[in-house]
């Protein structure tokens, strides 16, 4: 029994933590559903007023040491807790199902609060969100569309480089404002920690969206994300295993033209431009492609009038004689298929939990592998997690919670992934092979096979190691007063080693070409090491009391100190020989080819905070919070800034006039106001004049050559000292309504909110005679409005339990003041005063020129003085744009706002049911109102003939016989192409989409059957699919979720569908 041996190892490992107990007064019992009588495994049984407790086993049974007269409290998620006095040695406890747990608590800043009396806009997500999703490399991935008010997005789908980000209730600042991350009560200074955490360790996530965040002061303007990790449960040792295997299937991706499409298009484009087949190199190339499909013509030696092997002359005028090519390959291959394939990913988690009435523990081990869609090269993300948490009760009153976690996140990508000649550059024209005949790396002129760059160009490895050490002590000093302190230490180490290898290139026949790219002198190996040690300590007192039976008061007050120490160094060796072994000592160049650099910094925060919660009878709720934050980033004289918030609530259903009605179970009106700070764009030492010391690091450095070598230079940094800048202060208003209706079947909430960043940091421009960059100043104003809502219906028909729900988020922003900057350019405008952020401006498409008369008229009317690039040689078949303001000129003032690149609407809906052992759930997620404009020459057909061409225009371009085509006539002339394809209502794309985010079908094996194994207590198997299908309006094949700008970087990585088979085991 191999499995048993494995378990034994864990037991031994944990031996020191487990204390046995066998004392008298043992009560046994069983917990079951009050209605169905089905046993409830995993229910918690506690002796009231103590920390003694246990959980029910797979059959719903428990044992606990209790004396007569003590009270047992039984609880289980989804059921109302019940208190039963111990009256004998055996009790049967029946739990009533409850769609809402009245005592459900929500983690808020520095404490927890009953959900029922919450007045802030807080959304809580539980552990279920991360289950059944296959390999989840970042918890945000599983939350897309799940958190009302939050828009979650990624910049890529490449493993380890997804760039997940979350924006709560729209933009907060032009300087960025990421939500503050707090894990188990300790602030985490870097949201990248989410890439390393094991989602399986997360018990819950709370999102503080409004003034409630003010308790976190200067860093809370973007909202706060509180993560609580899972903790141990006392009782019998329970071992769980969750594993899944996923296949990554290429989803939305651009498709390239086939050889034939390309050749025909090229000929057409050149002929449209007026070139004659007789003497045009490119038309000739197109004809050769059609004639020699599937063949190779070798032995070409450009330039100078030479002949193809069959005697066909190569016409003069080869566009770039500097790059001789040695063959022509005309294969009928699919560029995307050459580069991409389906991939796999997997994740495994082990959990062991147990303990005694004094001490509980949980150990979890996690591993995830996220594989590549790239056919060649090393490209993957490995994550390893160990987390150990321990709860120890010194007494009834003093408890210590400990967490130790090690998260390792390793990402490997091909070094030459990006850049103009990178793997995701614009690639070859069709017909080129991935490799030469003998498997070596193929190049055509200065175009290098992306497959070769991926396979042989070296690896870029990033190893991130994050430790979390967190001790939390809670002391119930009196019945009303408690003390809580947290000490945390988070050291993070990121090491990177990157090798860029020089590659020898070949023609198709395998003949070596003169070029090595990168050249051996440019090829390099570099290593860097970053350590970031973060310490934090906080302590607070909580006083809780009820006066006159109705007045419930909770007061919290405390202080916090945080410090961050950062250190980085890196070293690089250039001049690598071919096939160099990675190593800093393996460069073959002289001393100047070795370089190093380093940087160290630190900062600290010091804060006091307080909160008052008051409610009258649980009916009228009031909360106020204040925080005074000090930071080392400002001069001592002006270091502390206060932030505060106040919120109120009215539980309408508690009112006497609501008694007797049966529609509403709960109805709560909430309102809040708060201020919070944003620290985006605040440097560590802005208040000091720093100097920059510069030394030449290579022969291409600009340092002067004085004496015998490059001279070191010293001078002031380009930005002036800033003594008066401070945190941006964002005011938040929120109005919300929570309700539960129809016997708790229908629950929901609606919120509207507004954020005003009234002192946004902006670059202020002074006369150039200042001679330096002026520091940012708090002079801008950004207003963001948002609305969100969610609705869930839970019900049961016979044996079938089901739920159906959805949520929607809407936000819009407006730059009220931006130093008067109103210059509008065609394309994406990050900031324009009076407009939303990231507005896309373009011209209004006014139809196509269909005949000579239209052409003449258009040119006559608009050609003079236009600034929209109307080419003198405009043709029939090209676009016309509209003179929107009717001044007879086509220029910048005719630009219209075509929407914003930021999604304005995010929504999702879900449905699920359980029947006997089966469970099924599905989530659909979508985005509405987003405008995409790709400012990318690769998106213009045949603008650069030697690039591969996206096929989205094939058959859709204007010809005399296809006058209704969507796109203008093909051209190879850049002035015509740039004119036709500039930002306009024709070229922007609608970024709306709706996608099937997740479908799960699970089956829990009958316990009678499974328990025969004597080892396994519970077994569930499931099949799930992520991103299975998408409805969108994108024309160029890319995924609608991808960013607008895909210019030759890994953002071109195709998105994928994930199909997962998984198992959940409990031992």
């Amino acid at each position: 029994m191999k499995r048993k041996k494995t378990l034994l190892v864990f037991f031994l490992f944990l031996a020191t933590c487990i204390t046995a107990f066998a004392q008298s007064g043992q009560v046994t019992g069983k917990v079951a559903d009050a209605v169905t009588n089905e046993v409830i495994p995993g229910a918690t049984i506690k002796i009231k007023g103590t920390s003694v407790g246990t959980v029910t086993d797979i059959k719903g049974n428990f044992k606990i040491n209790a004396a007569d007269g003590q009270v047992l409290v039984a609880s289980f998620i989804g059921y109302e807790p019940i208190e039963i006095p111990v009256t004998g040695l055996f009790v049967t406890i029946k739990l009533k199902e409850n769609s809402k747990d009245l005592n459900e608590v929500v983690v808020v800043g520095y404490g927890t609060q009953k959900k029922a009396t919450l007045t802030g806009a807080i959304t809580t997500i539980d552990a279920k969100a991360f289950q059944n999703k296959g390999t989840v490399t970042n918890p945000l991935e599983a939350l897309e569309g799940q958190v009302p008010g939050a828009i979650i997005s990624r910049t890529s789908s490449a493993p380890g480089q997804e760039g997940w980000s979350i924006q709560i209730r729209g933009a907060t600042s032009t300087n960025g404002a990421t939500p503050l991350l707090v894990i188990d009560g300790a602030i985490v200074p870097d949201n990248n920690a989410l890439n390393a955490i094991n989602p399986n360790d997360i018990a819950s996530m709370s999102f503080l969206k409004d003034g409630a965040a003010a308790i976190y002061g200067a860093r809370a303007a973007g909202g706060v994300i509180l993560i609580t990790t899972k903790r141990g449960v006392s009782g019998k040792t329970v071992v769980t295993y969750d594993g899944s295997f996923s296949k990554k299937i290429i989803g939305n991706e651009q498709q390239q033209m086939t050889l034939q499409q390309y050749a025909n298009g090229l000929i057409q484009a050149r002929e449209n431009d007026g070139y004659l087949p007789a003497n045009d190199y490119l038309i000739h190339l197109g004809e050769l492609m059609l004639k020699y499909q599937g063949q190779v013509i070798s032995g070409i030696n450009f330039p100078s009038g030479q002949f193809f092997q069959d005697g066909t002359p190569i016409p003069a005028g080869n566009p770039d004689p500097s790059f001789p090519v040695s063959d022509y390959t005309f294969f009928n291959n699919n560029y995307q298929n050459q580069l991409f394939k389906n991939g796999v990913s997997t994740q495994q988690s082990f959990g062991i939990t147990g303990g005694t009435n004094k001490s509980t523990y949980r150990l979890s081990l996690g591993y995830a592998y996220d594989g590549s869609l790239l056919r060649y090269g090393d490209d993957y993300n490995n994550r390893y997690n160990i987390r150990f948490s321990d709860d120890y009760a010194f007494s009834d009153k003093v408890k210590l919670q400990s967490n130790i976690a090690l998260d390792k996140d390793n990402v490997t990508v091909p070094t030459m992934e990006s850049g103009t000649t990178g793997i995701f550059s614009y690639g070859f024209q069709p017909g080129s092979p991935a490799f030469a005949q003998n498997g070596s790396d193929y190049a055509w002129g200065a175009n290098y096979s992306p497959e070769g760059l991926a396979r042989d160009g070296g690896d870029n490895n990033t190893y991130t190691t994050r430790w979390t050490i967190n001790e939390n002590l809670n002391w119930q000093i009196t019945d009303h007063l408690s003390f809580n302190t947290t000490l945390g230490y988070n050291p993070t180490t990121i090491t990177n080693n990157t090798q860029e290898k020089s590659i020898q290139w070949y023609d198709y026949s395998g003949t070596i070409l003169g070029v090595q790219y990168p050249t051996p002198t440019n090829a390099y190996y570099s290593e860097s090491n970053t350590t970031d040690n973060y310490y934090n300590a906080n302590a607070y007192l909580t006083y809780k009391n009820t006066f006159n039976k109705h007045n419930n008061v909770t007061l919290t007050g405390g202080s916090q100190y945080e410090r961050d120490e950062y250190n980085m160094f890196s070293a690089t060796t250039t001049d690598q020989s071919l096939n160099a072994i990675p190593g800093l000592s393996n460069g073959v160049g002289d001393a100047t080819t070795h370089s190093n650099s380093g940087y160290a910094s630190h900062y600290a925060f010091q804060s006091i905070f307080g909160r008052l919660n008051y409610d009258y009878d649980g009916k009228y709720l009031l909360e106020a919070q204040v925080r005074d934050d000090g930071s080392s980033k400002f001069i001592a004289a002006d270091r502390y800034k206060p932030f505060w918030g106040v919120s109120g609530g009215w539980l309408i259903t508690q009112e006497s006039f609501m008694q007797g009605q049966h529609l509403f179970d709960e109805l709560k009106l909430r309102g809040s106001y708060g201020t919070a700070g944003n620290q985006g764009n605040i440097g560590l030492y802005d208040y000091l004049q720093l100097l920059s010391l510069s030394y030449g690091t290579s022969v291409t450095s600009s340092n002067p050559y004085l004496g015998t070598g490059q001279a070191v230079t010293l001078g002031p940094t380009s930005t002036l000292v800033s003594l008066n800048r401070t945190w941006e202060k964002v005011e938040t208003y929120n109005l919300g309504l929570d309700f539960e209706m129809i016997n708790h079947h229908l629950t929901g909430s609606v919120d509207i909110s507004e954020k005003n960043n009234t002192n946004m940091l902006l670059p202020v421009i002074y006369p150039a005679t200042l001679g330096a960059t002026a520091p940012y100043q708090n002079v801008g104003y950004l207003r963001t409005k948002a609305a969100e809502g969610q609705l869930t219906w839970t019900g049961k028909i016979g044996n079938i339990g089901y739920h159906i729900g959805g949520n929607i988020t809407y936000n819009t922003d407006n730059v009220i003041s931006y130093q008067g900057a109103t210059v509008i350019a065609s394309g994406i405008n990050t900031v324009i005063q009076g407009q939303p952020l990231n507005s896309v401006y373009g011209y209004e498409y006014a139809g196509r020129i269909q005949n000579k008369t239209e052409l003449t008229n258009y040119l006559q009317e608009y050609s003079t003085g236009n600034t929209i690039g109307i080419p003198a040689n405009l043709r029939v078949g090209d676009n016309m744009f509209k003179d929107v303001n009717g001044d007879g000129k086509l220029n910048n003032s005719d630009l219209v706002n075509l929407g914003t690149e930021d999604p304005r609407i995010s929504y999702s809906f879900n449905f699920g049911f359980t029947y006997k052992g089966f469970d099924f759930s599905t989530i659909f997620q979508g985005v509405g109102k987003r405008t995409i404009f790709r400012n990318d020459p690769a998106n213009i057909p045949f603008n650069n003939w030697y690039w591969s061409q996206n096929n989205f225009t094939v058959g859709k371009t204007w010809t005399p016989t296809n006058t209704g085509a969507y796109y203008p006539e093909l051209s190879n002339t850049s002035t015509i192409n740039n004119y036709n394809y500039q930002a306009s209502s024709l070229t922007v794309q609608n970024g709306e989409y709706l996608r099937c985010k997740n479908i799960v079908l699970g089956y829990t094996l009958p316990s009678k059957f499974i328990q025969r194994s004597k080892v396994i207590n519970r077994m569930r198997v499931y099949l799930s699919g992520n991103d299975l299908f998408t409805f969108d309006k994108i024309r160029d094949g890319f995924d609608p979720e991808a960013p607008s700008n895909l210019k030759n970087s890994y953002t071109q990585y195709p998105f994928y569908r994930l199909v997962t088979a998984g198992v959940n085991l409990t031992f």
Partner: protein, 591 residues
């Protein structure tokens, strides 16, 4: 663990300690006093002379280099080269006509020349401010002098481009009233430049006293030479605008400054016998690698008074100089070609030696030798950095590797340039020849011109001391320029002095500024930019493609016509943004 016993007192004590600790940390305000740990702060530096030396080192990056002399990206406001020959009448950029050259430039929103210069001035003032409070001024006087030299150097750039500009002599803050003052006058700026240079000169070392470890630093001669450039510029500017008294004052300074460089005997023209009449050509591409037939190295070049220094193994030019300079997209104009004298010292219009234009290479015969080393006459063999000289013998191996054998210049405007193109084996961007910021030949020509303009004449002794050595270096057999030669041939002394300057300093960023100070731009600049004479010459058969290009009356191909030069063009406009930011800054007239 089973038997763990805790003491409540112990726990309480622990908690009290923790609470105390936290209260102490919060109470201690110094916990937030964190100074930089790896960055240098102003307060900690400027303690030793070496700090000031490093500070002065930064200013050497302000020196002009190849890009400034003959690159220009007129449409990119951050990439402007206002002194480039691309903006003059000597060069035409094929397919990219220059709006600053043809008078079509408009008032820009922003201008990197303006803001860049003031950023340099800020950095210089910053160091001078630190130096003012340094305890031992004598130990840093050389670096202070260098700072003043570069401040003068930067203000001269502003003066040439914009005329009068705001004079900023201290470091400003965002609340400084100086930000909102009107510009100073042209005279104030010129006087300030001269006073900075005069202050710097005594504290700078003689060239011969500069140690090998300090090569490249500003010498006394560099400051004197630069003073002659500034004073000649401003002196002639004033002279041709009718301000005789001011002109006399400045030209006197110019002549004296040039003379002190000459009499210091620290510099000499580069003319090693082994290179013969090609010395000037190889000086421009001189490297310590085998960059010339005679294996001569940079140490032999005593002509560069101040050089922006490069070396393939230390600091590469990092600009595709050879590739771009060698028969590429910009071409010298026919006007420039016609400026070269014939071997008898006479202009082509007068010399019997001139062969006309019948053959593609006719006009290159019997001309000033610098012409054949600057242009690429038809039928010649040429090498570049990619197709480089093998053994410099011109033998079979050498020829087999030539970039052009029997060169047929039938592209662009028919005239091709070779100045600044390496002939040795060196990859693109890795060339390492120096850029002459100030070279002795210019000082000699400054002396000749200042003397002539000051007195209205120049005697033969002064010509032999200045202009003639420059001319004779490349043309040992050409008659000297003398008053008798001028009189005998009906020449004009001023024209000949200017001709010599234009020929000698081509592609070194002088021409457009010279035309401005001579106030001749209004006649020279509107002329068509033309290429080779096509009609009635060999080109008609060798280059049929040029048949469709427009021609002027001589049958030369017109590359650009319709050029204009207005009075406003003598100065560039201040960028719009600066006028908005400082309403007291008055736009230059006409803009």
């Amino acid at each position: 663990m089973k038997n763990f016993k805790y003491s409540p007192n112990k726990t309480v004590n622990t908690i009290l300690c923790l609470t105390g600790l936290l209260l102490i940390t919060f109470g201690c305000k110094k916990a937030l006093n964190l100074n930089p740990i790896s960055e240098l702060t102003d307060a900690a530096e400027w303690q030793t002379p070496n700090d000031f030396k490093l500070g002065a080192n930064a200013f050497y990056t302000y020196e002009r280099t190849f890009k400034n002399a003959w690159f220009d990206y007129p449409t990119d406001p951050s990439n402007q080269e206002p002194h480039s020959d691309c903006r003059s009448d000597l060069m035409v950029v094929i397919g990219n006509l220059n709006p600053f050259s043809n008078g079509k430039n408009t008032v820009p929103q922003t201008d990197a020349t303006y803001s860049g210069d003031y950023s340099h001035i800020h950095n210089i003032n910053f160091m001078l401010n630190k130096a003012a409070s340094y305890s031992n001024p004598a130990s840093i006087k050389q670096y202070v002098a260098e700072a003043k030299f570069f401040r003068a150097y930067t203000y001269f750039d502003l003066l040439q481009v914009y005329g009068g500009v705001p004079l900023i002599t201290t470091t400003l803050t965002t609340t400084s009233p100086e930000l909102y003052l009107p510009q100073n006058t042209r005279d104030q700026i010129a006087d300030f430049i001269i006073s900075d240079l005069n202050a710097a000169i005594p504290d700078l070392p003689l060239q011969s006293n500069i140690a090998a470890t300090d090569l490249g630093r500003v010498s006394q001669g560099a400051a004197q030479g630069f003073l002659s450039r500034v004073a000649l510029y401003e002196g002639t500017w004033q002279e041709f605008r009718g301000n005789t008294a001011r002109a006399t004052q400045l030209l006197t300074i110019a002549q004296a400054a040039a003379n002190s460089v000459i009499t210091s005997a620290q510099y000499s023209l580069f003319e090693p016998a082994a290179l013969g009449d090609s010395a000037q050509k190889y000086m421009f591409i001189l490297e310590n690698q085998k960059s010339n037939p005679a294996n001569i190295v940079k140490a032999s070049n005593n002509e560069y008074i101040l050089a922006n220094r490069y070396d393939q193994t230390v600091r590469q030019i990092n600009l595709n100089v050879s590739h771009v300079a060698f028969a590429n997209a910009f071409s010298p104009t026919r006007k420039f070609a016609n400026l070269y004298l014939c071997a008898d010292g006479l202009p082509i219009t007068q010399s019997p030696l001139f062969q006309g234009y019948v053959k593609m290479n006719s006009e290159f015969i019997n001309r000033d030798n610098r012409m054949k080393y600057t242009f690429m006459p038809a039928g010649g063999n040429y090498w570049s950095n990619a197709k480089y000289r093998i053994d410099w013998n011109g033998d079979a191996a050498d020829l087999a590797h030539a970039a052009y054998l029997n060169f047929q210049p039938t592209f662009n405007n028919g005239y091709q340039n070779q100045k600044w193109a390496s002939e040795r084996n060196v990859p693109d961007d890795q060339e390492g020849y120096d850029y002459p910021v100030i070279r002795y030949a210019e000082i000699l020509l400054n002396y000749a011109e200042a003397t002539f303009e000051l007195n209205g004449s120049i005697n033969d002794a002064d010509l032999d001391k200045s202009l003639n050595p420059v001319r004779l270096r490349a043309n040992p057999t050409m008659p000297k320029l003398s008053n008798a030669f001028v009189a005998a041939n009906g020449l004009d002394m001023r024209t000949e002095i200017r001709r010599e300057r234009t020929i000698e300093l081509y592609l070194e960023g002088f021409r457009i500024d010279d035309l401005k100070r001579w106030k001749t731009a209004e006649t020279e600049m509107p002329m068509n930019l033309t290429g080779i004479q096509w009609a009635g010459t060999q080109f008609q058969t060798t280059w049929p493609g040029a048949g469709s290009l427009p021609k002027d009356a001589t049958g030369s191909i017109i590359m650009e016509s319709g050029r204009t030069w207005a009075q406003k063009d003598y100065l560039l406009p201040f960028p719009v943004q600066q006028l908005q930011l400082n309403p007291k800054l008055a736009q230059n007239s006409g803009w």
